[in-house]
């Protein structure tokens, strides 16, 4: 309105002062001005419409530009993700505060798929038993190296250096391969494994890492009956099933089944560990078969059954073994049981003809909140303590040596653990031992053990 009035006023003054003498009447002048006013109003309206149109177009263009920018951002993000995927494979991921969490070292292959992983565990122990010198021992340093040359090809290995290796003073250490196998992965149900295998007999042999266990000393059955760590050269299959029975879908079954060189004649009436076979040659032409099937009806509840059969000498005499193990978990309480029996077909009466043993272990996890700011809890996210109790038992038949009668050993252990993180543990335990005839492990000597173990 104001712009139009102003313009009309200017026009009026202009026309008024420019009128020649004798021009048209005031009416004519008014008519001319009206005409001019209409004309300019029309023009101004046109201009306003044009401005409005341009403004609309500008908004539309802005929206388009925004869309294009969003698309470009998304494309850039997708590209970055692709680059990330590539770079992750060539990244050296350290342990501790690695981008992916705490754990071992993963070294990427710059030429494509195929990470190499490095990890391990180590422990140091101190023992003080009756009738023996107290002693420190640096028991194990284990190096794990794994590799994935292809997503369906996996290599897993465990090299053990025990007591410092063979070249320490007294030469009482050793270096040996505990596992070195390759997996040809097919599907969940069946996969092929070959190499130096961790023998699937019993639960302890499969989960023997020091940092996983709550007691320093391995169970009698896992030392003298199932010769942990039991490694055999061989090949076989492994896999798992998850059968769904109506609405029940929690059942999990898994198995390992291998053919191996098998135990040889090196056992005695104090244990089977001397019969662990060479990884180079078999002592006979027979291959042993060993396997374990585990059923887990619910999370953290598992029952396993193991079997072994194979000839141990060149005369066709065999060793057969059966084992049963179980895991029951109720809240912070874990109950583990394991039993194993090996029967030996005797070529003569001079060899032990059976080996059996068992253990039952209770682990109870706890933590006191008041320790959060103490030296035990400070800086650790989820520290915990564990009370451990175990009963151990081993019984091996006599082999007609100087000491007559079956050899038996019983052990009660009470232990305490402190774990600032899952893979570091300080263990303290006391053992009460009792034996009949030849000692299998500690004889009648009671004592305490303490140790630290770390996995990485």
């Amino acid at each position: 309105m104001s712009r139009v009035s102003l313009f009309a006023g200017i026009c009026f003054i202009t026309v008024f002062f420019s009128l020649p003498a004798g021009a048209e009447t005031i009416e004519d002048i008014k008519a001319t001005m009206e005409e001019m006013k209409r004309d300019y109003e029309t023009r101004i309206k046109g201009l306003e419409e044009r401005i409005e149109t341009l403004s609309g177009q500008q908004q539309e263009n802005s929206a388009k530009i925004e869309d294009i920018a969003t698309q470009h951002e998304a494309q850039a993000a997708a590209m970055e993700q692709k680059i990330d995927a590539k770079t992750l494979d060539v990244e050296y991921v350290g342990r501790g505060n690695a981008p992916v969490g705490k754990g071992g070292l993963v070294i990427g292959n710059p030429f494509g798929f195929g990470n190499v992983s490095v990890g391990g565990y180590a422990d140091v122990e101190y023992g003080d038993f009756e009738k023996t010198n107290s002693t420190f021992n640096q028991h194990r340093w284990i190096i794990n190296i794994g590799a994935f040359p292809h997503e369906r090809l996996r290599f897993t290995s465990e090299l053990e250096i025990e007591y410092g290796g063979p070249n320490v003073p007294n030469a009482d250490g050793e270096i040996k391969v505990e596992q070195a196998y390759m997996d040809f992965l097919i599907n969940d149900a069946v996969n092929v494994r070959a190499g130096a295998l961790l023998v699937p007999f019993g639960r302890y042999n499969l989960y023997h890492d020091s940092d996983l266990q709550n007691l320093t000393e391995r169970p009698i059955v896992a030392r003298d009956v199932i010769p942990t760590t039991w490694t055999e050269a061989g090949a076989g299959i492994f896999g798992g099933f998850n059968p769904v029975l109506g609405s029940y879908e929690d059942l999990n079954l898994n198995y390992e089944l291998y053919m191996v060189n098998g135990l040889d004649t090196g056992f005695s009436d104090t244990g089977l560990s001397g019969a662990r076979a060479s990884l180079k040659t078999d002592n006979n032409d027979d291959k042993a078969v060993v396997g374990r099937v585990a059923a887990s009806p619910w999370l953290n509840q598992e029952v396993g059954v193991s079997g072994y059969w194979g000839e141990y000498d060149t005369a066709g005499h065999a060793i057969a073994g059966v084992g049963v193990d179980s895991l029951v978990t109720i809240g912070p309480l874990e109950w583990i049981n394991e039993y194993a029996y090996f029967g030996v077909e005797q070529g003569s009466s001079d060899v032990a003809n059976f080996f059996q043993g068992a253990y039952s272990q209770l682990n109870y996890d706890f933590w006191f909140k008041c320790l959060d700011n103490s030296f035990l809890g400070r800086g650790f996210k989820d520290p915990k303590m564990t009370l451990v109790g175990r009963y151990d038992w081993g019984l091996i038949s006599d082999d007609s040596d100087a000491s007559r009668g079956n050899n038996k050993e019983d052990r009660w252990t009470l232990g305490f653990n402190y774990r600032p993180v899952d893979n570091f543990v300080y263990k303290l335990e006391y053992q009460w031992n009792q034996t009949s005839n030849e000692a299998l492990e500690r004889g009648d000597n009671n004592g305490f053990l303490t140790s630290m173990a770390i996995g990485f």
Binding site: A74, Q81, P99, I186, I237, L299, E334, D365
Partner: protein, 182 residues
Amino acid sequence: MVIPKQWRGGSLRFVSVPGIVLLVSAPGFAATYLTVEQAQQVIFPGQNFTAVALILSEENQKALETQYGLPVHSVKQKIWRTEQGGFFIIDKVIGKHELITYAVGINPDGSIRQVEVMDYREAYGDAIRQKRWRRQFIGKTAASSLELDADIKNISGATLSCRHVTEGVKRIMSLYELVLKK
């Protein structure tokens, strides 16, 4: 102990591993169980996905560290938004020695829809792949404690895998709460 003659020698000795493999094997997969596309369709069937560009600012990293309670090491995360407003996020954590790739689906209301393990490479400990463990995460939100042995049960023998995946999911939910939720 006497082993019956019929148990000996031949039959077990000549068990053919390749034979068993051929008998029970079927086409499948191995260490990689789900591709990105497969995991997306398992968690959000039939939906379309748009990649989300997100690079965490220093301010966000600090806020996330406060909320998550652990250091943030990566400023980038693989994130997709679904057409219905949910999120699909891929992450990697370490098991004991090997990397685990997993995906978390978040509903538009901020609750966890599903967790899927895409790659698992360790020789032992793959029980975290089982549905009975993963379903513990369903319905949890950024406000949940998401802690092992608290609202998420551990698996004996697979503790490190359980802990690291649980920590990873907690980190993702903190990220969602801080940056993605609008």
